[in-house]
Symmetry: D2
Subunit: 350 residues, 4 copies
C-alpha cells in the first residue's frame, strides 16, 4: 500500500530484462549506441514527427531545466503555474540552467487559466530592457494536482503563447498518464497544438531513471547537446538509458503501465468518495487528493498505508480533517487498492 | 578487442545482480534508501574516514563539477593539468557549476610538477581583487596519460596546496586502478596526504553509471546537496545508484576489476614493447599509449581491434608512425589481449 | 514641469563643484582614493555604525544585485514585493548576480504585509533540498508607490525575518526621502530594526550616478569586493564616485534635497486633491500617484508637463480616467509646481 | 611624476566642461538622451561604419565582458594572450558574463603569434561536445606590454579567425594610442581587417569613466542591450556618459590626448635608453617597460616618481635590477618627463 509517490516504485521487469539484454560487450558511448537509434525512431513514430530531435537524460529535473534553458534567454521569464514542479521542486534548476531567467507564476491553481496567462504575459510589456522579457510558457501535463488538461484547454493556452510568439514547453513527467486519459495521440496533445518541446517522462512510469526531451523543430534544439554535456547529463554508458526507453516504447509498455496506474487511482477515488471523503481534485490520472478525518488517517497509516497527510483548508472541522495525496504507480496491483479500501470502509463504519 | 575506452564496456554481472535484487517493492527516494546507508558505511570504512560526507551521482563530470563548485568561489581559479578531464572533456562544466571560476593550467604534461604548480599559484598574487583568486588544486589520479602519481609525488603537490591554504580535489575517475597500482590504502592516497574531496569513480570500472563524491570534512560539504539537486543530479530512484555502488564495494569487487584491468594493460604494454612499439607513457594503470607504424595499425584495425589512432610527434618517420591509446576495462579477458598481441606479432614479422 | 522620473534630473551644483575640486592631479584608483576615506567615515557616522563596510557603485541595480548576491545562495529565494524594483525593473539582474536565486513575490501591494510575508516564508518549508531555500527579505523604502513604511511597519517585517533567521536587505534608492519623512535617524530605520545591508541611493537625489552599499556587519561583506570587481562595477577613477558621495553627505545636502523633493510632492498632492483628483497612494515621499480625467491630462501634457499617464482601474468612468505618476526630484522648484497646479485649476474649472 | 597608471589621472578640462554644459534641466534617461545621438553619429563617422551599433558603459571590464558575452556561448572558449586584461585583471568577469565560457591562453607573450593562435584553435577540434567549443578571438591593442600590432600583424590574426569562422573582439582600452601610433584610420585597424566588435576605451585617455562598445554588424549586437541592463551597466543619467564621450570625439580630443601621451612615453624611453636602462618592450604607445638598478629606483622614488618596480629576469646581476612600468597619461606634461629624466641622469652619473 505504497501511495507516497510514483518515483519510489520498482523498475518494470521488461525494463530490467532489456538492461540485461543490453549488457553484452562494448557499445559506443555518449548516445552513439544502436539502441538510441531505435529510441529515436520509436519516439519520432509515436509523435508522428519524423524530424524531431530526441535526447535522453536521467532525471525529470534535467529534462525540464535543459529544455527550458534551450528555449529561453537569461533575461526572459518563463510563464508557469505556481505549483509547477519547475517552480516548487527543482531547487532553482531552471534558473541555474538558463543562466538566471525568472519564473512568472500565473495566478490560479494547478491548471493555468487562459485569461490569467494572457494577463501575466501582457503585464510584461512596455518596459523596454528594464523588465524581464517574455519567454516560454511551460505547461505541466498531468498537473501537480493529478488533473489533466483536455485538448481544448491546452489549445487555449498554446494559442495565447502563439499570439505573443512565445515557445511552449510541456513538462510531461506523467505524460503517459495524460495521453491515455485523453485517449488521443501524442501528436494531438503536443505539436499539433503548438507545443515546441516536451519532457517525456519515464521514471515515474516503470523506468529506473530516464526521460526523453523532444524538440519538434530540430533547428531549435541545436544548443541542447552542449547544454546537456556541460550540465554533466551526457552518459558515457548511454546504452543503458537507451535500453530502458526502448523497452518502454516497445509493445506499448508505457501505455499499459499508465492505463493500469490510472485505473487504480480511479478505483481509489471512487472508494474514497463512497466512504465520504472529500475529493479535492478531479482524479484524472494516477493521483488522488482527498480529505479524511484524522482518525481514519491514523487507521490507514497504522495498517501500513504509506502517503503524506497534510493540513489544509477542508470541509468539516478544521482540526479533524487532513489531506492525503495518494499516488498509484504502475506496480500497485488490485490487491493493494482493495486492501486500502477495506481498511477505509471498516474505519468509517466504526 | 575493444580498447577504445573504459567507458564503453558492459556492467559487471554482480552489479546487474544487485540491481535485480534491489528491484522489489518501493524504496524511499532521493538518497534515503537503505542501500545508501550501506554505501556510506562501506566508503567510510574503506577510506578510514568515519565522518566523511558521501554522495552519489551518475556521471564523472557531475562528480568533478559539483565537488569543485563546492570547494571554489566563482572568482577563484582551479589549478590543474592542461590535459585534465575537467579542462579538456567536460565542455566547461566546472565553469558552469562554479558560476564562472577559471581553470589555471599548470604547464607540463599529464602529471603536475610541484615546482610548476608552485609557480602557477605564486603567479596569482599581489593582484588584489583584480586577478582571479587562488582556488582548489585538482589532481587527476590515474592521470589522463595512464600514469599514477606515487605517494611522494602526491605529497609534494598537496604540501604546496597546504602552504597556500588551498583545498585539494582528486579526480578519481580511475582511482581504483591507481590505488591497486600503488598497493596502498585509499586513506593513504587521499586524506592522509591532505586531499579534501574525492571523485570516486565506478563507471569506468564495471558500474552502469555511478560515482561517489566524498568530503572528508563534512562541514565543507554542506552546499553539495543543494548544488546536486539544482544541478538535476539527485535521483528519485536513488536505490539503483546505491545498489550499484554497494555491489562494487562488497567483496572488494572494485579492487578485483581494477587489478584485472591493470594486469591486462601491463601485458599489452609488454607485448607492444617487445614488438618494437614506442611506449609513450609509463603504463601504470589500465591504459597504454604507444606509437606504431601506420601499416601495423591497419592490420590491427582490420582485424577488429577498436581504438583511436592519432598523429603526433613520435620517433621514426613522421608520416609512418601513429599513436594508439589502448584502454583495458575490467571486462577484457586474456584472450582479447592474446589475440591482439598475436596480430601485432604477425604484422611486425611480415 | 518634468515629473516623469527622478532619474532624469540634473546633478546638484555642489556635487558638480566637488567633481571639479577632485579633478586635480592623480589619485589612487579602485577605491583607495582619500575621498573614499571621507565617504566611509561620513556614512559610518550617519548610520552610527563605526564598523560598517561601505562600498560605492554607480547604479541602483548594481547596488541591489550585488548586495543581494552577497547575502544569498543561488538555491535560495529572496522575499520581496511584487512591484519591487528588483523584480520589475532590473531585467533579472538579481538572478544573474546571485547565480540563479529566485524571487518570491509576497502577495499584496507596494508594501509587504507582515502576515503575507510570514505565509510566503512558511510556504517554503518541509521541502528538503527540493524547494528553493529561504533567503533574504528585501524591503523597498520608499516603496515603488511612493509610500513610506513607518518604523513599526518595518519592525513587523524585520522581526519575521529574524524569526526565520533570514537576513534583511533594504533597497534605499530613495532612502533619503524616507528618512526625512519619518524624521528618524538612519540607524533607527535600518540596523536598529535588524536590517543587515542597505542600498543607499544618491542618483535619484542629486548625484550623477552613485549609490553606496552598506553592510553593518563587515564580516558578512567579505565577498562583496570580489563580486563588485567581477561584475565590472569597480571604477578605476573611483575618486569621482567618492567626490559625489562626499559632497552629498557634507552639510546634509542629501537631507536638504530630499526635504525639498518631498515638500514639492506634498504640495502637488494637495493641489491635485483640491482639484478633485483621486490620490491613489499616500504621497509620503517625492512621488504622487493620481487619477485624472483624460481631458485634463491632455491639457497638462499640451502645456508641457512631462509624465507617463496609464490606464487602470480608477473611480469614475473607465474610459475617461487615466493615472499619472508624478515624481519630484530635488531640482524642481516652487514655480514648476505652481505652474502645474495653475494649469490643473484652469482645466478643472473650464 | 605619476607613472603608475593611466587610470589614475584627472579628467580633461574639456570633458569637465562638457559635463557642466550637459547639466541643465531634465534629459531622457537610459541612453535616449540627445547627446547619445551625437556620440553614435560621431563614432559611426570615425569608424566609417554607418550601421554600427554603439553603446556606452562606464568601465573597461564592462565593455570587454559584455562584448565577449554577446559574441560567445557559455560552452565556448575565447582565445587570447596569457597577459590579456580579460585573463589577468578582471576577476573572472568574462567567465561571469558569458555564463561560464573558458579562456584559452595562446602561448607566447603580449602579442599573439599567428601560428600559436592557429595551433590553439586547432587543438580544440575533434572533441565533439566534450571539449570547449571554439569561440571568439580577443586581441588587445595596445597590448599589456605597451606594444602595438601593426596592420599586417593584426591581419595575420584576423585571417586565422576567419578561416575558422570565429568572431574577433578588440580590447581597445588604449585604442587611441594604437591608432595614432599606426597613423591609420580606425576602420583600417578594425572592421576592414575583420574585427567584429571593439571596446573603445576613453577612461585611460582623459575621461572620467566611459567606454564605447561598437558592433559593426548591428544584427550581432541584439543581445547586448539586455546583457547591459541585467549586468546593471545601463545608466539612468546616461547623458553624463554621453557628454564625456561626445567631448572626447569633438575636435579630435581623443587623438590629441593620445598623441601627447605617446610622445611623452617615447621621450621617456629615449631618456631611459640613453641612461643605460634595458628597454623591455618596444615603447609603441604610452607605456615604457624598463629595467634599472635598484639604486636608481630608490633615487627616483625618493624624488617623488610614482610607479611599481617589480622583480624579474633582467640583464645584469639578478639582485640589483628591478623592472619599472612607466605609464604616461594625457595629463603629464613635458616638465614631468624632464624632471624624471634629470633625476635619472643625475643618479646614473653619481
Amino acid at each position: 500500500m505504497f501511495f507516497a509517490s510514483d518515483n519510489a516504485g520498482p523498475v518494470h521487469p521488461k525494463v530490467m530484462a532489456a538492461l540485461h539484454e543490453a549488457n553484452t560487450g562494448h557499445a559506443l558511448p555518449y548516445g552513439d549506441d544502436e539502441l538510441m537509434d531505435e529510441v529515436r525512431q520509436r519516439l519520432r513514430d509515436l509523435f508522428e514527427a519524423p524530424d524531431a530531435a530526441v535526447y535522453l537524460v536521467a532525471t525529470g529535473t534535467a529534462a525540464n531545466a535543459l529544455a527550458l534553458a534551450t528555449m529561453c534567454k537569461p533575461w526572459q521569464t518563463v510563464f508557469c503555474s505556481p505549483v509547477a514542479h519547475i517552480q516548487e521542486d527543482e531547487c532553482n534548476a531552471p534558473e541555474f540552467y538558463s543562466g538566471g531567467a525568472k519564473l512568472t507564476l500565473v495566478p490560479g491553481g494547478d491548471r493555468m487559466c487562459p485569461e490569467a496567462l494572457r494577463s501575466a504575459i501582457k503585464a510584461e510589456e512596455n518596459r523596454g530592457v528594464h523588465g524581464p522579457q517574455r519567454g516560454p510558457v511551460s505547461i505541466t501535463q498531468v498537473t501537480e494536482s493529478g488533473t489533466v488538461y483536455d485538448l481544448d484547454e491546452l489549445r487555449a493556452l498554446t494559442e495565447i503563447a502563439q499570439e505573443f510568439q512565445l515557445p511552449v514547453h510541456m513538462d510531461g513527467a506523467r505524460i503517459a498518464n495524460a495521453v491515455v486519459k485523453l485517449d488521443c495521440t501524442l501528436a494531438q496533445m503536443t505539436w499539433k497544438l503548438g507545443v515546441d518541446a516536451v519532457s517525456f517522462g519515464g521514471t515515474k512510469n516503470g523506468l529506473m531513471g530516464v526521460e526523453a526531451v523532444i524538440f519538434f523543430d530540430p533547428a531549435k534544439a541545436q544548443e541542447f547537446e552542449y547544454r546537456r554535456k556541460r550540465g554533466a547529463h551526457l552518459f558515457s554508458k548511454h546504452r543503458y538509458l537507451s535500453a530502458q526507453m526502448a523497452a518502454y516504447l516497445r509493445d506499448d509498455l508505457w501505455r499499459e503501465c499508465a492505463l493500469k496506474a490510472n485505473a487504480n487511482a480511479r478505483r481509489l477515488a471512487q472508494g474514497l468518495e463512497q466512504a465520504g471523503a472529500e475529493i479535492l481534485h478531479r482524479p484524472d490520472a494516477n493521483m488522488v487528493f482527498a480529505a479524511l478525518p484524522r482518525r481514519i488517517h491514523h487507521r490507514l497509516l497504522a495498517a501500513g498505508a504509506q502517503y503524506y497527510p497534510w493540513t489544509g483548508d477542508f470541509n468539516g472541522p478544521a482540526d479533524e480533517m487532513l489531506g492525503a495525496r495518494l499516488v498509484c504507480d504502475w506496480s500497485l496491483d488490485t490487491a493493494d487498492i482493495n486492501r486500502f479500501l477495506d481498511i477505509l470502509q471498516t474505519s468509517v463504519s466504526e
